[in-house]
Structure formats: C-alpha cells, structure tokens
C-alpha cells in the first residue's frame, strides 16, 4: 500500500510543480467554453439551454487531451520499467496514477465549471448540477482515457491518436452526463436515473480501465 501512496504523491507533486500539467486542463476548458458564444452569438436564452452540453464537451476534451502524457513521460525517462518491477501489482499502480491525474486535472474542471456557467448565463442551481454530474462522470473519462494513454505509449504515437481511440468509448458517459444535467435543469426526465447510470459507468470504468491499460502496457512494451 505504501508504494501506491508514494506513487500517488509523486505524480501529484510532478503535476503541481512548474512544468506539470495541473491547471492546463482547466485553462483549456475555460477557453473552449469562452469560444462557444462567439460562434453561437450572445443570445443568452440559447446559451443557457445549451450550457450543460457545452460544459460537458469542454470537460470531455480537456480531461482526455491531458491524459496523453500520463504514461509517455514515464516511458521516455525509464520510470515505467521500474514501476512495472515494483511489488505492487501494475493495475493498482496505474490506478494510483489515474487518481493523481484525476485530482490534478479533472477535479479543477469540476471547480471551474460553475464559473463558466456564469459565462453561459446559467442559473446557479443548474451550474451546481452540472458540476455534480461532472464530478460523477470525470472518473469514467479518466479511466477510459487510461486505456488510450497506455496504447499511445506502446504504439509510440501520442496526441490525437488518443482522442480518436478513446472518444467513441466516452459517448455513453457524455449522453448520461448531459441528460442528467438537463434533467436537473429543464427536467421532464427525473434527475435520478441518468445520474445513477452515470455513476455506474464511472464505477465500471474504474475497474475495467486499469486492467485494460495494464494489459496494454505489459504486452506492448518491447
């Protein structure tokens, strides 16, 4: 257990320090959400209606694109070899890295989301619901993105390949995330069902993601 805590703390320290990718995801999210009204126009009513969808798309892209370097830096400086030779099973080591990434990249998104709700003229109540669905949904995005990050390392081609590989897998999370947010705001559909499905998706991906990523790393590395 101690090894995993050490790995978690190391990754958090690396993300927070200069050169780390901690707030870049939130910044990307901020810029994406700001660009949209320039395309759609400052019509406040329309923006309020599509606000949740915009925030979800922005969060999806922000958390996935930041995942690209999750294994790549460790692969390039040789740390990945040693991580695979640790006493802790690789799956749990990957889970520790995923948690570190979620805390330093996905969590800031959840915090920034209400702020961006202001830009999209959303009511405070709907903003908090969107943030809640993001909180429930981002673990799924991170764990699905893990698989793409591991594949990107073994295929030694990062960047957009990760997005292309992984985006289709995140469609269910997007559907239920936006559905839950809209249910909370406009609401013919009750908030409960889509939200619980979203949580189920997250829990499932927390289990599947690390196993698939570990398999990809084990069999891919030459």
């Amino acid at each position: 257990m101690k090894e995993l805590a050490a790995l978690l703390m190391r990754d958090i320290k690396l993300a927070v320090r200069a050169g780390g990718g901690a707030l870049i995801g939130a910044l990307f999210f901020l810029i994406v959400a700001t660009l949209l009204p320039f395309a759609i126009g400052p019509d406040l009513a329309l923006l309020a209606r599509i606000g949740p969808a915009m925030l979800w798309i922005g969060a999806l892209l922000a958390s996935l694109l930041a995942l690209d370097r999750l294994f790549a830096t460790d692969y390039e400086d040789g740390s990945l070899d040693l991580i695979m030779m640790g006493r802790a099973p690789l799956e749990f080591a990957i889970l520790a890295k995923a948690l570190a990434h979620w805390l330093t990249t996905a969590l800031p998104l959840v915090v920034v989301a209400p702020l961006l709700g202001l830009l999209l003229n959303m009511e405070f109540q709907s903003m908090t619901f969107v943030a809640l669905t993001l909180l429930a949904g981002t673990p799924a995005l991170t764990c699905i993105g893990l698989i793409g990050a591991a594949l990107a390392v073994t295929l030694r081609r990062g960047g957009l390949l990760l997005a292309v590989l992984v985006l289709p897998l995140t469609i269910p999370v997007l559907i239920f995330g936006v559905a839950a947010s809209n249910a909370a705001i406009a609401g013919p559909v009750p908030f409960g069902p889509p939200f619980t499905i979203l949580c189920a998706l997250s829990l499932a991906s927390i289990v599947i993601g690390p196993f698939a990523a570990a398999a990809a790393l084990r069999h891919g590395l030459e």
């Binding site: 200069a18 050169g19 707030l23 870049i24 910044l27 901020l30 810029i31 700001t34 009204p37 320039f38 126009g41 400052p42 019509d43 406040l44 202001l118 830009l119 003229n121």
Partner: protein
C-alpha cells in the same frame, strides 16, 4: 541614469530596495485620497450609487491593458535589444496584469448585475477584456512550463508581441460580432456621462491603481532576479560538487 545602467541586476536590486518604500507610501496616499473622493462623489442620475463600482472597473481595465503594453515593450527589450532585465520585467508583469484584468471582469459583472439582471452579458468591451484575460493566462502557462528562463523568455516575448498585434483586431471583431447579434434584451453598456465630479475621483483612482501596479511590479522584478540568482547558484553547486 541610462537604461543600460539598469542592466546590472545588482544595481537594480539596490535601487529597487530604496525606491520600494517610497512607491508604497505614494500608492497608499493615492488610494486614501481616491477612496475618499470616490465615496463622496455624487450618484449618477441613471445608475444611482452603483456608479461607484466604475471607480474600480475602469482603472482595472486600463491597468490590464497597461500591463500588456509593458510586457510588449519588454518583449522588444528581450528580442531586439537583448536587455538582460527585459524578460525579468515581462515575467514579473504577467501575474499582476492578469490580476487587474480579472478584477475588471469581476467588478464589471458586479456592476452589470443590478442593471442587466444577469452577472455576465456578452457586451463588446467586457468580452474583449475577457479575451485579454485568457491571453494573460496563456503567457502565464507558457512561463510555467518553460523551466529554462532563457528559452521561456524568447517564446513569451514572441507570444506577447503577437498578442499585442492581435488585440486591436480582436477588439474590432468582437465589436462587430456584438453589433451583428444585437440582442434586444441587452442595454448597451454605454459609458456613463463623465461628469467632472465623477471624472476627478476616477482619475485619482486610476493614478492609485497605476502606482500600485508599479510598486508590485518592481517588487516582483526583484523577486525574479533573486529567483534566477538562486538558479545559477544551484548550477554552481552542482558543478562544484562534481569536481
């Protein structure tokens, strides 16, 4: 005192050490006078007392833009004249400029709340300030990722100059974008009639903000010089122990 004399960091540090207390005193004085005048200024016939927020909002916008101008001048210093303190000045100005721009956005939305009923509206000027704020964050992110100051300096200088050229273009396009989508519900955020009784406090507050910016900037530059000195000493420490 030619600019070149300032080039020597140690002399700059000594000068900064001496000037900072005076600057801080002048800033406090200016704020004291400014705040008193602001609170005694008459209410605007249209917006009532909320006009008092303007005494923060407008100077903050001016200082946000002043920050970027200062960074652009420093960018010239880094790229063209290779002045050693140019990048220090630019890097020190970024967070302060960003903070003032953020203050402008916050006070803008607080000022807009009672008038428009929502805290944010895509008014042309406010939107341009938002874009300026995003560009500030971009330069800050750039400085954070570049570990080696020299490389970061040139990259940031280029980004700043490109930004400076684009700002008027952004301003124009946002204005056009705003007129294109002239939503009925938005009262144009017209500049309030500058009545002398309001103008003077505004100018004093602007002066106070400027002095505050300069004080913080000088102190931040001093920190940056010390930070780079720590970095060189660490390099020397590594070399020495290698011997």
């Amino acid at each position: 005192m030619a600019l070149i004399d300032l080039a020597n960091p140690s002399r700059f540090l000594a000068l900064a050490g001496r000037a900072l207390p005076w600057l801080a005193f002048a800033t406090a004085l200016a704020f004291g006078v400014g705040l008193v005048m602001a609170f005694n200024a008459p209410d605007d016939y249209q917006q009532g007392a909320t006009v008092k927020i303007m005494f923060l909002h407008v100077p903050a916008a001016w200082l946000g833009m002043f920050g970027w101008t200062l960074m652009s001048l420093s960018a010239f210093g880094t790229l063209v004249w290779r002045h050693p303190l140019a990048d220090v000045a630019a890097k020190a100005a970024v967070p302060i400029g960003a903070a003032f721009t953020l203050l402008c956005l916050v006070t803008g939305s607080l000022w807009g709340r009672p008038m428009w009923g929502t805290s944010w509206v895509w008014d042309a000027r406010l939107t341009s300030v938002l874009v300026l704020f995003l560009m500030y964050l971009g330069v800050m992110a750039l400085y954070r990722t570049a570990e080696d100051p020299a490389r970061g300096a040139r990259a940031a200088a280029i980004l700043t100059l490109v930004g400076a050229i684009n700002l008027p273009i952004i301003k124009f396009s946002v204005d056009w974008w705003n007129t294109l989508h002239q939503p009925a519900s938005v009262i144009r955020l017209g500049a309030p009639a500058i009545h002398p009784a309001i103008l003077t406090p505004l100018l004093v507050m602007a002066l106070a903000f400027l002095l505050l910016f300069l004080t913080l900037h000088l102190a931040a530059m001093r920190n940056e010089i010390l930070r780079r000195r720590v970095r060189t000493l660490r390099l020397i420490q590594a070399d020495e122990s290698h011997a």
